[in-house]
Subunit: 158 residues, 2 copies
Amino acid sequence: MPSSHEEWIRQAIGLAVENVRNARGGPFGAVVVKNNEMIATGVNIVTTTHDPTAHAEIMAIRTAGQKLQSFQLDGCELYTSCEPCPMCLGAIYWARPKAYYFAYTRDSAAQAGFDDAYIDDQLHLKPEERAIPGHCMPVGKSSAPFVEWAQSIGKIQY
Amino acid sequence: MPSSHEEWIRQAIGLAVENVRNARGGPFGAVVVKNNEMIATGVNIVTTTHDPTAHAEIMAIRTAGQKLQSFQLDGCELYTSCEPCPMCLGAIYWARPKAYYFAYTRDSAAQAGFDDAYIDDQLHLKPEERAIPGHCMPVGKSSAPFVEWAQSIGKIQY
């Protein structure tokens, strides 16, 4: 069993290489670790599962949640072959591991033809100015879902 | 069948309200539409499925991908009750619909106790300065996964 950050990172890289060789998806792999024990792994399976969200980190986080039966990865660390894209970084924040480690940067991903850096740039623009525009459509004064949430008894906050 | 942006947005809001009443998860709902036809819906099921990535938009995008048997939501529009968080916005960019529409803003989500605005602020920091720190760990000069990808014949790009 790996015992250092570098060994776990090498495992994530190994998964990424293997994933391309197996033609399952893009060149990305990730591992979730807790107390130096592997909790879950993930690889990019976007194209083979018709799921644009099936990045390595997302898959590893989802599997770890099932393994731990929790939507919070308390005390976990995420090792990923490449710097997380904005989607995966958001997922890391919602899953709340202790830290994450990556081998290659977004620039490397961009050079290999992936949109990570482009998406990051887009997120800095106002919604309506983005290449995929976001339009706010207020529907009256009501915030019905949030009112319902505030009044809900026994809700599980996250 | 709804025929205007506002009617589709109201459907997304209705799903969000219903989701809280059913105690399935947070107060969020989303609908994917193509040619004024509903392709998929999604609600937030983070807590009940132990999946921190199971936001309404992610669920709607994943289901739409299955329905269309494609990892690209060409020509689709996404209607969501609340402005997408950074994770969901990243997912929108990977799925590449035409546009998205939302009723409530991130500030509303923040007021209701959700981390969207906080995560957005965190993403503007350098990885190592974030509350969940990201550490780059280069492992030698090799970019093995990207080299493998470049050399892969018959790979499906996305």
